[in-house]
Symmetry: C2
Subunit: 414 residues, 2 copies
Amino acid sequence: MRKFKEINPSPRTLMTPGPVEADPRVLRAMSAHILGQFDPEFTELMNETMEMERYVFQTKNRQTYLVDTTSRGGLETVLTGAICPGDKVLIPAFGRFGYLLAEILERCGADITLLEKEWGTVFDPQEVEDALKKDSYKAVACIHGETSTSMMQPLKEIGEICERYGVLLIVDAVATLGGTEVKVDDWKLSACISGTQKCISAPSGSALITYNEQIEQIVKARKRVEKGIRTADDVAGQLAGIPSNYLDLGQLEDYWSPRRLNHHTEATSMQYAVHEALRCIVEETLEARFARHQLNDRALTAGLQAMGLTIFGDLEHKMPVVTAINIPEGVDGKAIRGMMLNEFGIEIATSFGPLDGKILRIGNMGYSSQKRNILILLGALEAVMKRNGVKVSTGEAVNAAMDVYENAAKKQEA
Amino acid sequence: MRKFKEINPSPRTLMTPGPVEADPRVLRAMSAHILGQFDPEFTELMNETMEMERYVFQTKNRQTYLVDTTSRGGLETVLTGAICPGDKVLIPAFGRFGYLLAEILERCGADITLLEKEWGTVFDPQEVEDALKKDSYKAVACIHGETSTSMMQPLKEIGEICERYGVLLIVDAVATLGGTEVKVDDWKLSACISGTQKCISAPSGSALITYNEQIEQIVKARKRVEKGIRTADDVAGQLAGIPSNYLDLGQLEDYWSPRRLNHHTEATSMQYAVHEALRCIVEETLEARFARHQLNDRALTAGLQAMGLTIFGDLEHKMPVVTAINIPEGVDGKAIRGMMLNEFGIEIATSFGPLDGKILRIGNMGYSSQKRNILILLGALEAVMKRNGVKVSTGEAVNAAMDVYENAAKKQEA
């Protein structure tokens, strides 16, 4: 067996829509030694994680915990727990990840209706209401921040509409939680799912989920306690059982509840990572964190525009944590991305489907959302665009971004 | 929002059947900064991980990679990928985790036949052959090391029988891989699944899987590429699709293949952890590693017996990495476990189901499998048993273990 070298990654500045840089505090927390899964010190950490997660989701939901999967697994866990085979679900899709919700739900036998929208736009809440009028749905499932297009769907009105129609609203906030407002209770979201590798700024590998009492009741009615650890009190529920054992919301609830019923072995170091990432957010406060992302977004946008690049999509609904630029005519987006990575150690992203080759996406998330990163990215991108034959205004981008920072600082002083 | 303290776990020696201590090298590797999932440096790490995994599984299987779940999710991924709804599966169950295989397979619509065996024993291969004669099965699924009872099922003959009957053999080696022989190719296992938190000695949160070409063909026939990234070449297969999106072997294969088709975002730090854990195994060599576990097992067993305790189950088929002791009459196992943890910082385990309250289980796995740990555990357990009113021979246990180590050292010198 040949020998391999130890891990020693080259320096990287990650300005993609995820994974982004983990806070160094988070990386250090993961090197704490392992605790047993039922060690009271460990279960106390799990409880603290739940409490901090409620702060980040802005919710009082009891069922607010982690799933030991990446964000995609968290989505599947909540969707397949809340939605039974045959349930009608409306999916307003405005990018790749809307189709992923459909894909997950189709596999579990849900009856899907897709509302489709041109990539680069969002839905008017009225369009959702019109669809709800036409048929009787169990749920609406939609994306909050669609990283494939950089668009962000306003949810407050849709939440009110869903409540009025007695329909669940299940939201994918994988890209937005911790970077911009996600008000689970105020917006009346029935469930919300996020990941760790974006604005939460921990490594990929855990999913944050929360859901309300209504979904808790559905899960209760679908519950099957595992044979090997079942007691006489554990009667099977009335609704169809949940198809997966690993992604079974009922079993996960029991594991995260005071009952601590054995299911999987909680991912110890990822638990440490999320605990520390949430501590960073609590210390910074959501308010200051959102303001930081917004300021960096304004600086980035100003810089890109000063360079002469155009921003893709409906600017009014652009996510503050992702910006997509139109790739200039005749330029190879992969070459731009490659030169940014190989020469500058800065990673940005291309896109998928109808936008493949048309846009480049720049992330501004979590620990990566820093003034310094915005400035060096703009300087590097200008040079790379120039070397790839794009006619950009040189010397303007960084300058425009610095103006934004200086004006913001002056405003704060005043 | 109240403030929480940083993670600072009390010192612990983890002598349970998992999770056990991660090698400090593994914990340090996780603090390396994040790389993007398609960064060539990261995909190279993934390839290296596959190569080292093949060494540990003793296989040439191309499909040898990680699933971003704990071990239980890895089991479900392989089982639900290889087994279609309606397929007949024979499960020789000799403890809790055999029933878990049945539970997972029932949920995906398999037609299960359970062979049951008293907890504390294993199957005679002839019993499996007799069952295969009676009906036509697609697969046999069984546990290699049943941690709930400490028993280890010999697999070489069962592998030959399954080959003779044209039946797949899918094996859960969660508790044994990296601690004792698991010869995937030599034993003719069609698929094998393991976790990270036992003899691999990394944190929980990733699953190691391998499967042969026969299962690869089944997966191919069930494949559905996700709509958002599907091309004209991606035609749906002939067999029923895989029920889960997150645990979809077909999509995982594409992600781990040179095609690198986007699926989840690989759990970066867990990837680092497994890479380093496998590097530790490659450096130690499997041969030396198995010998270390065996020696520590002999010392532990000799110590426990010298104390006057009796070992549970069929000694000839005891796992070298787990030892179960019969709880003496009138003693509360939970009190023993509690005093070991609270007074000595040493964690051992109780058990489940019919063995609840009857046995205590001591792990001897991975980094935790050390002479020092065996000696301090024996000393502590003697004191705890005594304080709980058990009449043990005092001063004998540690002494007997030290004899084993000294004799082994002398033998090696000679």
